[in-house]
Every structure is written in structure tokens, then in C-alpha cells.
């Protein structure tokens, strides 16, 4: 490849979309997960209002991840999605249920409890399915030729269930920290009390997944633990420990915005860890990014669009967040 390898750039762009998606939709899915714990009435309305203006934009990064994968790595898209059929369909249906709840709960006060339930159920299903998807991809997929060759339950293993639960904890933590930042009063105090426990749970989950991962594939073991690479990879658990310490300290100091950013840091590090395991494969152990790549012309055409549009998207997304900055009340933004 002549100096500038578009395949690597596109792998980077899709990884970027996934990271943005996970942290942005992560906190609004997390609010859905925690929702039944909030008092019916102003607290629930506040929690919902804190994400109502932004959830749709957050979810668009998922569409970019999927659409980008189809465009830049069509073979990976064509193998991964049928392999993970059940969890992907479950995720889509979960997103349907929770997405409409944002509008419907206001339109039908008589059945608001049902739409609140749909919001939670949809958020839990979508999150769990995403975690399972991640775990199933990491543990390996049966491939023959250019197609998935396993059965329709191959994704279901203790490891994929573990990653499903881990993501539930992680998103709940993000949602919790978002509400600490965006609310005040009783709801905020409630979220402070959850944030500590969820933090401990998340660290346990990260530890278990991290310990299990190197034993899934021989390649993961070498990527993580072979000398001298281990000198670099060891920094990831170290940084995780430092950020965890800062996270808990910010909670005990009752800081409002910082816990959210430390939580994002923990997610970022987990995703870097995922990158270390997978790189340079797109389907671990089976298909590399170069094998799955679309032709140069396709990647170049899209790169022009991405290079122009992504900065613009980030700018107006930041503006939309800025418009709705500050604490939110139960009757919307003032």
C-alpha cells in the first residue's frame, strides 16, 4: 500500500464511530436501564427530558457504524450480521421500543407506565444484545469462504452473556453519571448513591472480561502478553486503575460533571483494550481488515465525504448539546 492506507483509515473511522456511539447512546440507554428506580412523576420526567433532545443524534452513530461497515468492509458486514442474527434483531427491536417511548409517554398519560416499561425493556434488551454481540464477535465466528457457516445459536456462550451483563452495568453507570451532571435534588442524590456501587460492579466486570479474553484465542494472548508488547498493553490496566481512583474520589467530593468524564475514560480504555485484542482483524482470527476491505475507489469516495462531513457533524452536535446545557427540570429545558 502506497504510504496512505485507506483501509487503516477506514478502520479508524469506524472504530471512532463505535466509540462515539457507545459513549453517547451509552448514557441514554443507561438512563433507560435505571428508569424503574426513579420515582414516578417529576424524577422520571426529568431523567427523560435530559436526553430527549439528543438521543436521536446519539443513535445515528450506530447507523454510521453499520453503514460505514457495509461501505468500507462489505465482507465483514456480510459475515458478522447473519452470524449474530438473534442479538442484532433483538437490539433493533429494543431500540424501536425505547425510541418511540420518548414521544409516546407524553402523548398518552393514561398508559404512561406502560411506555415507561417499554423504555426500560427496550433499553435493557438493546444494551444486553450489544454486549452479547461484542462478546460473540470477540470469541470467534465460523466462516467458510465468504459467508458465515455456523448455526443460529453459535453466539450464545457464557462469555457473550458475561459481556452482555458487563455492558448493562457500564451503560447504567454512564446514565447515572449523566444524571448527576444534569439534575439536582433528590434525583441527583439517588444517582450519587448508585454511582459508587455501579462503579465497583463495572470494575469487577472489566476485570473478569479482561482476564477471560486472552484465553479465547491464542492470538489475543500474544497480542496482550508477549514481550515487548506487554510493556505497552500493561499501561491499559494501569490507566484503568488510576481513572477508577479519580472516579471514586470525584464521587466522594460530590463533584457534578467530572464523574461522567471519568466514566467515559473507563469506557474509552475498555474500547482501546478491545482494539488491542482485535487489531488488525475485523473478524477475529478469520478475516483481516485488508481482506474485508472495499476497493480503493469506494473507500476514497467515502473518505472525501467523511473528511468534510464528520467535523461539521461534530460541530453542530456540540452546538445542540450547548443549547441544552445546564440543569434540566421536570418540565423541560428553560
Amino acid at each position: 500500500m502506497n504510504g496512505l492506507d485507506l483501509t487503516v483509515i477506514w478502520a479508524g473511522i469506524i472504530a471512532f464511530a463505535v466509540v462515539i456511539y457507545v459513549i453517547m447512546d451509552g448514557f441514554d440507554l443507561g438512563i433507560g436501564i435505571l428508569f424503574p428506580n426513579f420515582r414516578v412523576g417529576p424524577d422520571r420526567d426529568t431523567a427523560m427530558n435530559s436526553i430527549a433532545p439528543v438521543w436521536d443524534g446519539n443513535e445515528t452513530w450506530l447507523v454510521l457504524g453499520g453503514g460505514g461497515l457495509l461501505a468500507a468492509f462489505p465482507l465483514a458486514y456480510a459475515i458478522i450480521l447473519p452470524a449474530l442474527y438473534a442479538p442484532i434483531i433483538a437490539m433493533l427491536l429494543g431500540l424501536v421500543l425505547r425510541g418511540v417511548a420518548f414521544e409516546f409517554r407524553w402523548r398518552d398519560p393514561a398508559h404512561r407506565a406502560r411506555w415507561d416499561l417499554a423504555f426500560t425493556a427496550g433499553s435493557v434488551i438493546a444494551t444486553f444484545a450489544q454486549g452479547v454481540t461484542l462478546g460473540a464477535l470477540l470469541q470467534g465466528i465460523t466462516v467458510e469462504g465468504r459467508a458465515y457457516a455456523g448455526g443460529w445459536w453459535e453466539w450464545l456462550t457464557p462469555f457473550s452473556l458475561l459481556t452482555g451483563f458487563a455492558l448493562l452495568v457500564g451503560y447504567a453507570l454512564l446514565g447515572c453519571c449523566w444524571l448527576i451532571w444534569k439534575t439536582e435534588g433528590a434525583l441527583q442524590r439517588q444517582c450519587y448513591s448508585y454511582a459508587g456501587r455501579l462503579g465497583i460492579l463495572l470494575l469487577v466486570a472489566i476485570a473478569v472480561v479482561s482476564i477471560a479474553t486472552p484465553f479465547l484465542e491464542a492470538e489475543y494472548y500474544t497480542r496482550w502478553l508477549a514481550y515487548p508488547g506487554v510493556l505497552a498493553t500493561a499501561q491499559i490496566p494501569l490507566a484503568t486503575l488510576i481513572i477508577s481512583f479519580l472516579y471514586f474520589r470525584s464521587l466522594s467530593k460530590r463533584q457534578q460533571a467530572t464523574p461522567f468524564f471519568y466514566a467515559l475514560g473507563l469506557f474509552g480504555l475498555s474500547l482501546v483494550g478491545l482494539g488491542v485484542s482485535m487489531w488488525p482483524d475485523v473478524i477475529p482470527g478469520r478475516v483481516t481488515i485488508w481482506e474485508a476491505a472495499a476497493p480503493y475507489e469506494s473507500q476514497l469516495f467515502m473518505l472525501v465525504g467523511a473528511a468534510i462531513m464528520v467535523p461539521i457533524i461534530l460541530a453542530y452536535t456540540a452546538w445542540a448539546y450547548w443549547v441544552f446545557r445546564g440543569k434540566v427540570g421536570s418540565d423541560g429545558y428553560h
Binding site: 436521536d56 445515528t60 431500540l95 424501536v96 469516495f301
Partner: protein, 473 residues
């Protein structure tokens, strides 16, 4: 093989089901978003309260429709891979970038400004809010642009080569691929259809309230605006549909043969079959009512021009005639009914009776769903007419599907049917509830809804000192 056929047919049913549901929502949001932009623009220009009230009225409906469009759309973006993975692998290098452009230039634009449009009027002011509305409206159009380019490429593929692993790869520059031969026609035809769909939905809501209270200024205004759209766009659409049909005749003659019910070739002028029952077993249309040579006149602009029939197409390459034949007639019939309403409204307007003729209002009410039905019928015509191919003439539907077991697809189909009927059924009920309330002089936002601008906001201050019906959207 039988097992495999079952899995493919289930996947087709699932795709048809989910895309049909999905398509109803963007067909409506493309239109309402533009309508909202016009209303807010008129409000900014004239400062007349009736426009602000109508904006608020339709914004509530838009929010519900948009939410349903978004969630049903995410399903579509993944279903190419889950159920049509071989198609995705092969066509991905060509259609993938176009869909990525849709996400980058349309979805983010809509989603990014939607929050401000719904909740932000008191935070950003009238002018910037109008920019947000415009951004959402333009986003819906850009979205239609890219996805219809993809669809059109599947109908009339150009600018590709086939590489050594059997993928379609771009070979002649992206301009040719994006502007493939059927795309300009399909784009204009579909966007006009979205406008007509909205015009008749808005017109029906206006008519419903006029039948109850002919003096309601909001109802009068929305009905009048909708009828202008009907009168202007319906004839344009019929003209455009004819051009689209001629384009299809050039590139996909088998589809037109199925639309026309022409099993046989007609060397000296083909008849226009108005009605009849296609009988594919005997290769003829039973009980046909036909106008001799009229089909040649429409399609070739010559009474005696020869027209080939399905007898010139190999059996394995023919689309199913019955569905295409009927869906085409439903679409065309509704199109002419729309034209009729448009002309009737012009006549009423010229007599200054637009708000006074209850039969016109009843007819407009009855035509409320016509756009949705016509859009679906048109979609069925073009998509079923493309069969048995996904990429026309090049990749068969039977060779496009994912390697899934039939029980897996059956289970997901069942889940989609259950969830969609419950969720979107409820959503449609809410739309009717919103539309059943008359537009009020000081159009409120619902209690507890996040769209709040009453209370201590500037909009309320404007309202207190102003006995016009002006109020911020």
C-alpha cells in the same frame, strides 16, 4: 432446497413488511418537514399568529411520525446485512458509499437539529430556530436523494465492473453511479409523492375540522394550503409518472409489460387494459376492459407502434404479473382521484366556496389516506417489478439472501410483526388523537410534554401583550 426457498421467502416477507411500515413515515416526514418550514417562514415574514399556531399543531404530529421513522429506519440499515448478506457483500462496494453519504449528510443533519426544532425555540430565538427547521427539512430531502439513488442503481445498474470475487465495484466514476438512468425520474416522482401524501393528510385534517366548525381559522388555512398543493402537484405528478414509466420501458421493459398486463406481444399497436384479472397460467388477462392501441399511444406516442410482451422474456426472468398489475392500477387510480380533488378545490375557490362545500370536505377527508396507499402501491410496483433480481438483470434475489435457517427468520418475522403492530399501531392512534383536536387560536403544547414554552418564557410574554393569535411555536 425447499428449506432454502422457505428461508428466502420468509426473508422477503420480512423485508417487505419492515420497509413498507418504514416507508409510510418518511413519506410523511419529508412532506411535513417542508410544510413546517413554509409555515415558520411565513410566520417570520408576516408575523401572523395563524402560521405559528399551525406550526405548533403540526410539530406535535411531526415529532411522533419522526420518532417512528427513525426507529423503523435503523432496522432497515441493518437488515441488508442480517438477511441479505450475499447482496451486501457483492453490492456493498457500490451502494455502501451512497448509504454512508446518506448517514453523513442527512441523518446527522436531521437528528442534530431535531432537538432544537422540538425543544429549542426559547433557547435560540426565532431566526435560529427557523434555521433548525430548515436543516431538518433539507435533511429529509437529502436522505431521499441518497437512498433513492441506491434503489435506482439496483433497478438500473451502471458504472460497475465485477471483480475476481464476484463483487460489483465502481468502474466509471461515481457521478454515473449516483445519477444512474432511472434515478432522476424516481427521485422527483417519489418526492412529489411525499408532498402529495402530506397535502392529502393535512387536507383531510383541515376538512374534518371545517365540517365541525367552518370558521376555525387554523382549519381554513391548512385546508386551503393543502388544496393548493393538491391542485398544483397532482398534475405535475401525473406528468412525472408518465416520464418515469417511459424511462422504465427503456430500461426495464419486463416491468412495464407486467404493469400493463401484456403477456403477448402486439406488433400493430397494444391495447391499454384498464381492468381485468391477470391469469398467469394461461398467459392472458381475463375479463379485460381495454382501449385498443391506447397503450402504444401512451408508451410510444404512436397508435400503431409495436410493443413486445412477456412472451419475449424468458420465464425465469419475469416478474409476478398479478401484484404489479394491481398495485400499478391502485397508484394510478388514486393519482387521478387526487387530480379530481385538486380541480374541484380550484372550482370551489373560484366560486369563493372553498370553506363552504361540505361534499368537497367529505371527499377530502375520504382521500386522507390516499397518499399513503398510493406511495405503497407505487413502491410495490417498482420493487416487485424488479423481481426476480435484486440488482436488475445481474443478481438474482434467490442468490442474495443470508445463510440463515428458516426457523430463525420465521422467529424474527413474528417478532417484527408483533412489535410493529403494537408500537406503530399505538403511534397511529396517537396521531389520530392529535389530529382530532382542532387547531386552537393559542395552540398549546401538551401537559408535561418536553415541548414547553409557557410560563416564564419570552413566548408567553409576547402573548400577554398581544391580542393577536401570535404565539411562538
Amino acid at each position: 432446497m425447499v428449506e432454502n426457498d422457505l428461508a428466502i421467502n420468509l426473508a422477503r416477507v420480512q423485508f417487505a413488511f419492515t420497509v413498507s411500515f418504514h416507508f409510510l413515515f418518511p413519506a410523511f416526514t419529508i412532506g411535513i418537514a417542508s410544510y413546517l418550514a413554509v409555515l415558520e417562514g411565513l410566520w417570520l415574514k408576516t408575523d401572523k399568529g395563524v402560521y405559528a399556531n399551525l406550526y405548533r399543531y403540526w410539530l406535535k404530529i411531526f415529532a411522533v411520525v419522526f420518532a417512528m421513522g427513525v426507529v423503523s429506519g435503523i432496522v432497515m440499515s441493518y437488515q441488508f446485512g442480517t438477511n441479505w448478506s450475499v447482496f451486501s457483500d457483492k453490492a456493498g462496494p457500490v451502494i455502501g458509499p451512497l448509504m454512508a453519504y446518506e448517514v453523513l449528510t442527512a441523518f446527522f443533519l436531521e437528528a442534530g437539529f431535531l432537538g432544537v426544532m422540538l425543544f429549542g425555540i426559547n433557547k435560540v430565538g426565532r431566526k435560529l430556530h427557523f434555521v433548525a427547521t430548515l436543516a431538518v427539512a433539507v435533511g429529509t430531502f437529502i436522505s431521499a436523494f441518497w437512498i433513492l439513488s441506491v434503489n435506482s442503481w439496483m433497478q438500473t445498474p451502471v458504472g460497475y465492473a465485477i471483480n475476481d470475487v464476484g463483487q460489483f465495484v465502481p468502474a466509471a466514476g461515481w457521478w454515473d453511479i449516483v445519477w444512474n438512468p432511472s434515478f432522476p425520474y424516481r427521485l422527483v416522482h417519489t418526492v412529489l409523492a411525499a408532498y402529495l401524501t402530506t397535502a392529502f393528510a393535512v387536507g383531510a385534517v383541515g376538512a374534518w375540522h371545517l365540517l365541525r366548525d367552518g370558521t376555525n381559522p387554523g382549519a381554513r388555512k391548512m385546508f386551503s394550503m393543502a388544496m393548493w398543493m393538491a391542485a398544483l402537484v397532482a398534475p405535475a405528478q401525473i406528468f412525472m409518472g408518465d416520464l418515469h414509466g417511459l424511462n422504465t420501458l427503456e430500461h426495464q421493459p419486463a416491468k412495464v409489460m407486467a404493469m400493463e398486463g401484456h403477456y403477448q406481444s402486439h406488433p400493430d399497436g397494444a391495447p391499454l387494459i384498464l381492468f381485468g384479472i391477470p391469469n398467469s397460467a394461461d398467459k392472458r388477462v381475463d375479463y379485460a376492459i381495454a382501449i385498443p392501441k391506447a397503450s402504444s399511444l401512451i408508451l410510444k406516442h404512436d397508435l400503431n407502434a409495436p410493443l413486445a410482451g412477456l412472451d419475449t422474456i424468458p420465464e425465469a426472468d419475469q416478474p409476478p404479473v398479478g401484484i404489479v398489475f394491481w398495485s400499478f392500477r391502485i397508484m394510478v387510480g388514486l393519482g387521478f382521484a387526487m387530480l379530481g380533488i385538486g380541480l374541484w378545490s380550484l372550482f370551489a375557490r373560484s366560486r369563493k366556496k372553498l370553506y363552504d362545500w361540505p361534499w368537497l370536505h367529505r371527499a377530502a377527508l375520504a382521500m386522507g389516506p390516499s397518499g399513503f396507499i398510493a406511495v405503497l402501491a407505487g413502491w410495490v410496483t417498482t420493487e416487485v417489478g424488479r423481481q426476480p433480481f435484486t440488482v436488475y438483470g445481474l443478481l438474482r434475489t434467490s442468490e442474495s439472501a443470508a445463510p440463515l435457517d428458516a426457523p430463525a427468520v420465521a422467529a424474527s418475522l413474528l417478532a417484527f410483526v408483533l412489535v410493529y403492530f403494537i408500537v406503530f399501531g399505538a403511534g397511529i392512534v396517537y396521531l389520530f388523537k392529535l389530529a382530532a383536536k382542532p387547531p386552537e387560536a393559542h395552540e398549546p403544547t401538551p401537559d408535561d410534554a418536553p415541548i414547553r414554552s409557557a410560563g416564564t418564557t419570552p413566548a408567553a410574554a409576547v402573548l400577554e401583550g398581544d391580542h393577536e393569535e401570535g404565539v411562538a411555536p
